[in-house]
Amino acid sequence: MRGLAGRCGAIALIAAMVGVQPAAAQLGNVGETETTTADLEHAASETGGAEGDPWEGFNRKMFSAHLFIDGNFLVPGAKAYRAVTPKPARKGLRNFLANAAMPKTLVNDLLQGKVGRAGETTGRFLINSTIGFLGFADPAAKLGVPPHTEDFGQTLAVWGAGSGPYLFLPLFGPSSLRDGFGAAVDIGFDPLFYIRTDPAAYARYSRAGATGLALREPLIEPLEDIEAKSLDYYASLRSFWLQARKREINDGVTNFEDLPDIGDYEELDELE
């Protein structure tokens, strides 16, 4: 029951944020000076600019909280996990967890009307759960059925919902209002959610913990690199996430049409 209450709390938090949005958007406008048509055109062609982040103040506070938790618990945990496990075992665990999350992908494949991809998901689940040793190996990929993931945030995007404001939450990391809401709905697509016994609850909690470690461990160095190179780590991660998410929603196909224009800078043309 405590788990359910926690989830309801998370959903309520997101719902409360929806209510807060107009006020936050107004606050975001207070500091702005003149806005010209060119600015607006520019803003419209942005990818991952501050324009998509009206809750930046709140998000940055959450980001600081996350960095504290990350630095003190997640990274040491991930390093310890790396120290006691061989690389193939870690890959096996990632495969296993991905395989266990396939019901979520399947439901969202179907909700998006992607029958072919739903077939791939089902095929992968059957192959990997059997000859793939309960999902620890990924023979399906070698047989030419590569993995993909879908979530309810992507389904909402395919249905035409805009991403809404960017949202950063401690532990959950970068997201958007739509995708945060989607993640809450996805909990309902997990079969374990409906088995209300103690062993199932332990399995859920263990899986949540294992997922956290398994996802954080391969990101130790990449995130260190991004932090070391960036002038503004928060804005850097936001842009990387927004850009990558766009491609994920587009099923891995990159759209070049909506890149921001290079721009004409007359003074440079004079130099050339």
């Binding site: 520019h42 990929a141 690199d225 503004d232 491609r247 890149l259």
Partner: protein
């Protein structure tokens, strides 16, 4: 059952169909640009030699030389300022260009070092306009399940009025470096009051990052 035309007023339906037709005819289909592909093929060939160098410093130097030669760094520097590009003063520009050049090279050499020991090959291109072309490349011989298996490395090529080509941006799987830099820089400028003062703050941050 009510038909779609029953729901929509007929005239509106005809108007939107006509508008759609106009759009279809007006928007030019994206095409491949062979000259841009050849331009990138030449650079990728040079880069592949750099990626083979066993010594890290030699690779760094090689990448920096390629960036110096082929990236239109001033244009990227202006782009990364977003709407603030129109507010930078001449004195700031001089300092900013030189700092940005060092910063972008650092990012390029670290990002491209990931391909040490690998070979890239150009696979095709898409033109956004005759002056703005995306050339795609991939790691040669990547097998399913490999780290590089599903990786597409993009190059955004800018063609000047005179037909000269430069690299404007590089990306992997839809994530672009200059776009990420613009997001950071605009954030820093905006959070420091915007305008020339904000740009001063950005310059200070760049200095701090580069000179520690």
């Amino acid at each position: 059952m009510m038909s779609l035309t029953g729901i929509l007023p007929r005239r509106a339906a005809i108007a939107s169909a006509a508008a759609l037709m106009v759009l279809v005819f007006l928007s030019p289909a994206a095409r491949a640009d062979e000259a841009a592909e050849d331009f990138m093929r030449g650079i990728v060939d040079e880069a592949n030699i750099v990626f083979e160098a066993p010594d890290e410093q030699a690779r760094f130097d090689g990448i920096e030389a390629l960036v110096d030669k082929h990236v239109d760094m001033k244009r990227v520097a202006m782009f990364t300022l977003g709407q603030y590009a129109r507010q930078i003063t001449d004195a700031q520009k001089e300092e900013y260009f030189s700092l940005f050049d060092r910063y972008a090279k650092l990012v390029y050499r670290e990002s491209l070092s990931n391909y040490s020991g690998q070979r890239l090959e150009v696979t095709g291109s898409v033109d956004r306009s005759p002056r703005d072309i995306i050339v795609n490349s991939r790691v040669v011989g990547a097998k399913p399940g490999d780290r590089y298996a599903d990786l597409v490395v993009h190059w955004r090529v800018y063609r000047s009025d005179e037909g000269e080509m430069f690299i404007f941006d590089a990306g992997a799987n839809g994530v672009w470096l200059a776009i990420e830099q613009q997001s950071q820089f605009k954030s820093i400028i905006a959070n420091n009051g915007g305008g020339a003062g904000g740009i001063d703050a950005l310059i200070a941050d760049l200095k701090a990052k580069l000179d520690g």
